[in-house]
Amino acid sequence: MAIRHITLLSAALGAAFMFSSSAQACTLNAWTVNGSIVGTPAAGGPAEALQVRRYSGLCGMRATGTGNYVQNDDPAGDQIFRQRFYVFTATAAGPAVVYQAGNGTNANEIQVSMTNGTQIAVSHRGGAAMTFATTANRWYSVETALNSTASATTGDDPIPANTLIARVGGGGSDTVNSNSTGITSGAAIDFARLGCVSGCGATNVDFEEYESTRSAGTAIGRLCRGDANGNGAINNGDRVVVTNEILEISFATGQPDCTETGVINPGDRVCITNLILAEIDCP
C-alpha cells in the first residue's frame, strides 16, 4: 500500500510554540515536490504574520480567490484513489470548486464544490452530484474513495467496483454523512488540486490536512476532534492546552478547535468537557 501525505507545514515543531516567538515557518513547499503551486495560495497560522485558520498543528493554507491552488502529481493513472482534506466553509456564492482530481483527458474525475458555505457537493464527471448540507463558517472534512476497476476492493473499508464514495463531516459534530455513486469504468487519477480552482470569486477559503492514499481497503478517516495536545486521547489535558492557547501562553499542536468554528475560545473547553463526560474518545 502506498501512502502519500502532503503536509502544509514545512517544518513541524514538536513542542508548544510561544506566541512571542516568530521562528515558525509555514510554507507550501511540500507541494512543489512532484507538484506545483498555481497562483498565490498562502500558508499561515496562528503564529504567523498571515493568520490562516488551522484545524490541526500550527499551519493551514489559504486560497485567496479563484485560480489559487496547489497541485500534486504523484498519482499515476490510479484507479483506486482515496483522499481527505478539511475545508472551512466560507460563504462564497459558488459553486466554488475546491478540489479536483483527474487526468489529461478529464480534469474532473472527482470534483468537490462548495456553495454559500451551506452545501458541499462531490461529483464524478458526468454524474449526479452527491450533496451534503453544511453550516457556514465551520470546518468540514471531505473524504472520497474511488474505485474505477471492475472488482470491488476488500478490507475494513471496501469500495464497490466502479464507485465513488464521498464522506463529509464536521461543523462541531462527529457525524459523518456518506454517499456513493457509480462512475465511469477506467477513470484514472494523475493529479489532484486543492484550493480555489474556480468559482470562489474573491472569497478566501482555508484548507487543512490533505492526505491521499492508494489503499484498497483502509479509509483515511477524520482527525480526532478536540485532541488538543495530539496525544490520541480526549481528556482534561486537552482542556488545559486549549486554556493555554486562549491565554496566549502557547499554541495547541493537536486539534484544539473542538467546535470547529475556526477560532479557539472557551467554547472549545466546554466542547472537550462534554466529550469527556460523554465518554467519547479518539477512534
Binding site: 508548544a16 488538543a228 495536545n229 481528556n235 482534561n236 489535558g237 486537552d238 482542556r239 488545559v240 492546552v241 486554556t243 493555554n244 491565554l247 501562553i249 502557547s250 473547553r269 468537557t273 469527556i276 463526560l277 460523554a278 465518554e279
Partner: protein
C-alpha cells in the same frame, strides 16, 4: 450540616506532610438511603487539572450537586453520571496549580438498591502544559464513622 470525617490514612498523610506526589482519597460514609463519598486530594502542587472516573453502579440515584463544591476558588469543575460511572473534572480557567496540601474536591451521594462501594477506574492529573503528572488513589480506605447528623 453534614460533614465528612477524614480517614486515618488521610490524616496520616497530612501529618507526614508528603508533597512528592498527588494522591486521591475517597472516603465513604453511610447517608440516608445510601452511601456518600468524599473526594479529597493531597496535592503536591504539580497539577492544574484532574480527571477522575469512579464506578458506582448503574441505575442509581446519584446526587452530584456537591461533587466539586470543596474546590479552592482558583478551580472549578464538572461532573456527570453515565454508564454506571461518575466522571469528575477539575480545572482552572487560568491553569492555576492546585495548591499544595490536603484539599477537598467535593462529595457524591449515591442511593438505590444496587448502591455499592465506589471504586476509582480512571485517575489522571495534568500540569500546565497538559501533560500527565503522577497521581495515585487510595479508594479502599474504610469509613471512619457515619456522617454527622
Amino acid at each position: 450540616m453534614k460533614t465528612f470525617a477524614t480517614t486515618a490514612a488521610l490524616l496520616l498523610s497530612l501529618a507526614l506532610g508528603s508533597a512528592s506526589a498527588n494522591e486521591l482519597f475517597v472516603t465513604s460514609a453511610k447517608s440516608a438511603g445510601g452511601q456518600a463519598f468524599a473526594l479529597d486530594i493531597n496535592s503536591s502542587g504539580t497539577a492544574t487539572a484532574l480527571q477522575i472516573r469512579v464506578a458506582v453502579g448503574e441505575g442509581l440515584k446519584v446526587d452530584l450537586s456537591k461533587c466539586v463544591s470543596g474546590l479552592p476558588g482558583t478551580h472549578s469543575g464538572a461532573c456527570g453520571y453515565r454508564n454506571g460511572k461518575v466522571t469528575v473534572l477539575v480545572h482552572s480557567e487560568t491553569n492555576e496549580m492546585l495548591p499544595s496540601g490536603m484539599l477537598s474536591i467535593g462529595s457524591i451521594a449515591v442511593s438505590g438498591a444496587s448502591a455499592k462501594e465506589l471504586s476509582v477506574v480512571e485517575l489522571l492529573a495534568f500540569d500546565r502544559n497538559g501533560n500527565e503528572v503522577s497521581i495515585s488513589s487510595d479508594d479502599q480506605a474504610p469509613p471512619t464513622r457515619s456522617l454527622a447528623k
